[in-house]
Symmetry: C2
Subunit: 304 residues, 2 copies
Amino acid sequence: VPAALIALDWGTTEARAWLLDAAGDVRERAEAPLGIMKVQGGAFADALCSLAGGWLDAEPGIPILASGMIGSRQGWVEAPYVPCPAGAADLAGRLAEAPGPGGRAVRIVPGVSFDPPEGVPDVMRGEETQIVGVPGAGRRLFVLPGTHSKWAEVEDGRIVRFRSFMTGEVFAVLSRHSILGRLMEGEEEDEGAFAEGLARGSAQRPGDGGLLAKLFGVRTLGLFGRLPGSAAASYLSGLLIGCEVAEGIAAFGAGATRVEVVGGARLSHLYGRALTAAGLEPRLHGEEAAARGLWAIAKAAGVL
Amino acid sequence: VPAALIALDWGTTEARAWLLDAAGDVRERAEAPLGIMKVQGGAFADALCSLAGGWLDAEPGIPILASGMIGSRQGWVEAPYVPCPAGAADLAGRLAEAPGPGGRAVRIVPGVSFDPPEGVPDVMRGEETQIVGVPGAGRRLFVLPGTHSKWAEVEDGRIVRFRSFMTGEVFAVLSRHSILGRLMEGEEEDEGAFAEGLARGSAQRPGDGGLLAKLFGVRTLGLFGRLPGSAAASYLSGLLIGCEVAEGIAAFGAGATRVEVVGGARLSHLYGRALTAAGLEPRLHGEEAAARGLWAIAKAAGVL
């Protein structure tokens, strides 16, 4: 089967690439710490060569399609957000184009925006491609864990609405810069403490207060000798993920049983536990969902 | 009226002192950045001399009473937490004693703990004295804004239960270390943005998600040109205080109309607005509530 597409998931810190064959299967993969924040002076064509130069030379005729922060204002060429509802065809109709190595076009998938009347707008970039890479019909619920994790409602392959949760970044800044971080010892995961955090984070007993009160509990449980320093990070992680899952289910869970979870292995595992504890049936997908999404968008764009 | 008590509110970063006369009125006051984290090598007696040396010399016979972090394990002498319910008499019965300048005793007020069955424990140190300094009968609701603000239910002068909210510290770490801080320009207060944040932070529409989702909105509102960088800090402050007030009312608000607010002028003003917007009647008290509380505890201890 001949090679047919160079597919790129090009984010803030990392860039991943796949060489797909004419059946849409992955023939080779590559990865480098060449996210847009790491590329100096707009040298994206050079970065692409160092990531996938061998494929570019060997397959001079096949198209190149990228998604992620590479299409943001800070990226290579801006691919403005497409409003919801958005699926593969909507994204394919709005590809941007950057001047790649040797004058070859690099097509870039736009992000998606959600801007409800009287509400707060939201955006995603990269996740829309992962969602499109998990095919299915009818109404489906997606959770994409990460620094700013996304919950999305998808109807017949089109993203209808979504919300970002700052869970990952809140965990990071509290661990590094708050009084809670000073209690933490080591980075080992503690399953029991994570489960306890999950239960407390998702519980909604008014007398306990909400997240702002529960966070302080990380400190007082330590002070009372009920949470060792080695378990504090796992407890905080559980608390925040449990809170996000409760918020996400309130916003998106109506009628859902199955949830499509797309993300890195470690985070997806933790979210899977949280979603299962909340009574949902998570189905985990790796980040190669991006490769399948890029394939679907390339097909819809007619560039294959 | 002769001098009768040297009263100290001795916290983590600041120390405040009052010279009270035999009627309990403030005759003089002093303040210095001599909180326990600023005093090296346990030299608390020296710090006290530099804060209130003139009074110590002029009034060799009057008692000295301190509250706050000075009674913590990291302070001068540990004054172990007194469990709820706790009022002036309970605190007075458990004073610790430190060796002050010239062999004079410095009495230290204990903190208060709340440890509900099946719940997460909580602690305060310093706030109990401020609460005791706002006299009143029956059931009363207190809010004490700060880095870790406290909501407390008080019954006939005794603290029955309370909760800490990490609001102030979450604001600080997100402003300094997260992607939200990178959007902020200047420190000027923006009344309109604060009010908008308050409304969004306290609103409970499931489709919006909870706090973790609302935080991301600080970024997307900026991205969409609906929140200028100069207003971002005020909006975030409103969002967090609005969320705390909603959580606090759910936990403590049943049947309450009046709220006693004790804290610094700036924060008390902001919390006052938030509580009013939530339909409560805040009554603001300055930090000299600590002086009145120390007076009440000294009286209950029979040391005057």
